[in-house]
């Protein structure tokens, strides 16, 4: 990634979109809109001082919605370019409110609320389409209750949990427990505020609020004139305080029993190899599940994983060995099954209902966390991309290619690689990307020769 930012032959246009492509192979004109970041790219040093003072929290999609970022942000810590960006939908200044604290804090003077989108006209000879994929939305399978049960997550969400730079710093905490902890933090804040409100009364009258309340309740309160004056207000504030403190204590008691998730269920083929959605195999999810279980086991040796799949497809160099190693060393059990339904027990634990095909029995088993291997689907907006580039899509929304020239789209000079082509894993994407580069070179060289002669 760093090499891309540094290479003299690469002009990196991040936060930009292709709007139009005219011309023909060897002689295209690409119209690219470089969206306003409201931060000057040549001035921003990426120090993050602006981010620290920004008052507006926004849900962080890089962390799959399990963390918060600010309205001024970098997509992720090591991102290239490291230039920060202001989110125009959430920034206070850009939504017409008063703020601008980032501008005051920025020592480089990089913040520019007046910045506008710029349109670039680029003459190019060939185009490589590497727009990737989007995962299947598992809430389309109602029996898996994704979003209904907190502890049912997707493989990408789980990936963020496992990451040391992720929302849980690499510890596998259950989302339901994190929710309770967030509630505790919120209540603690409220209690701190209400305690401050009580402080003055306690100091003035020389007793704690609890003593005052008890005396008031059993009628032993000897009100002085000053206390008589404050009594109603004090009572009102104290009961408001109790309203926060009582649930806080109960939640704290509950949180004492929280442990990290140790029993994991991986459910394969969520949306893929399923005639209701995508009939094809996504190719990488079996290995992804094995990898996640191995990493979770490396992090905490008490972790046990069950991978529920129709079959484990470990097709690739070193993959089968990896699968066997996971089973032998990382407490992974492979179960041949298609999970029918996920329900929830009293302790927020997801209960997996499945048929054990070996024993020919329907079973129910509770887990700490269920991870759904969501299918690889076409990228959101694939239709718009196809329209802009004037190319065709297949019936699922991946870009159509010619069987004899598998990286050529329906428009000469436009090539496709990676998951924009079809679902594939990283090694295959990399290999295909190199092939697409070679095809693009062939296209421009051939054109150049023809025109020159």
């Amino acid at each position: 990634m760093l090499d891309v930012g540094r290479h003299p032959n690469i002009k990196l246009l991040a936060y930009s979109e292709l709007e139009k492509l005219t011309g023909e192979a060897g002689n295209f004109t690409a119209t690219v809109r470089k969206k306003a970041r409201y931060v000057e790219e040549d001035k921003c040093t990426g120090c993050g001082a602006c981010r620290e003072v920004c008052p507006t929290p926004v849900i962080d999609l890089y962390n799959e919605g399990h963390a918060e970022r600010r309205a001024i942000y970098s997509w992720f810590a090591q991102g290239i370019p490291s230039t920060h960006t202001i989110d125009p939908d959430h920034c206070r200044v850009l939504t017409g409110k008063k703020c601008g604290i980032c501008q005051k804090k920025c020592q480089a003077g990089a913040i520019n609320f007046e910045q506008k989108d710029t349109i670039l006209e680029l003459p190019v000879g060939a185009v490589i389409l590497a727009t990737g994929y989007d995962v299947f939305d598992p809430s389309r399978i109602p029996e898996y209750r994704y979003k209904e049960i907190d502890n049912v997550v997707t493989a990408m969400e789980f990936e963020r949990f496992l990451s040391a730079s992720g929302p849980t710093e690499g510890h596998v905490y259950r989302p339901s427990d994190r929710k309770v902890k967030a509630e505790i933090a919120e209540l603690e804040n409220k209690v701190r505020k209400s305690l401050k409100g009580l402080e003055k009364f306690e100091k003035d009258h020389g007793m704690t609020s609890a003593e005052f309340y008890a005396a008031h309740q059993n009628g032993s309160l000897n009100p002085t004139e000053a206390l008589e004056k404050d009594r109603d207000k004090w009572l009102e504030r104290y009961s408001a305080h109790l309203e926060h403190e009582t649930p806080l204590l109960a939640l704290k008691e509950k949180a004492k029993g929280f442990k990290s998730a140790k029993k994991l269920a991986f459910i394969q083929c969520v949306g893929s190899r399923d005639l209701r959605f995508y009939p094809f195999c996504s190719g990488y999810c079996c290995m992804h599940a094995i990898k996640e279980s191995i990493i979770a086991h490396e992090h905490d040796n008490d972790t046990h994983s069950v991978i529920f799949g129709m079959d484990i497809r470990a097709v690739g160099k070193g993959f089968e060995e990896y699968k066997i190693r996971g089973g032998n060393n990382s407490n992974i059990v492979y179960k041949r099954s298609r999970v029918a339904e996920i329900t929830k027990d009293a302790d927020e634990r997801p209960v997996v209902i499945y048929e054990d095909t070996k024993e020919q029995k329907v079973k129910k088993e509770p887990f700490d966390l269920v991870i759904l291997a969501t299918a690889c689907g076409p990228v959101k907006g694939a239709g718009k991309i196809a329209e802009t580039l004037d190319i065709q899509m297949d019936r699922f929304g991946f870009f159509k290619t010619d069987p004899a020239n598998p990286l050529d789209t329906t428009r000469p000079g436009v090539f496709v690689c990676g998951c924009a082509h079809s679902p594939m894993d990283i090694p295959e994407s990399v290999a295909q990307a190199s092939s697409a580069a070679a095809r693009a070179v062939q296209a421009v060289m051939k054109k150049t020769d023809q025109k020159a002669s």
Binding site: M1, V4, N9, I10, K11, L12, L13, A14, S16, E17, G26, N27, F28, A30, E64, Y73, W75, F76, Q78, G79, I80, T83, H84, T85, L122, P123, V124, G125, A126, I128, A130, G132, M156, E159, R160, L162, M287, H288, I290, K291, I294, I295, K317, F319, E321, Y322, C417, G418, C419, A420, V430, A433, A437, A440, V441, V444, K447, T448, K451, A452
Partner: protein, 63 residues
């Protein structure tokens, strides 16, 4: 860029998408001496792979 008669032929190449595939294509082309425009819609490149903690089958870091 070469001008032959009325047609302009350019060897520059546009790569759409800055995930692992786009990055690999761009680097290959750049190393071969071609000028590349790499267009990414998000604020930084890296794509889905940048979200991954480790990759199979070697458990290497993704970034």
């Amino acid at each position: 860029m070469k001008t032959t008669g009325e047609t302009i032929v350019t060897k520059d190449i546009l790569v759409l998408g800055g995930g692992i595939a786009g990055i690999q294509s761009s680097l290959d082309l750049a190393e071969m001496g071609f000028k590349v425009y790499l267009v990414e819609q998000l604020p930084s490149i890296g794509g889905k792979m940048a979200q991954l903690d480790k990759t199979f089958p070697t458990n290497d870091c993704a970034i």
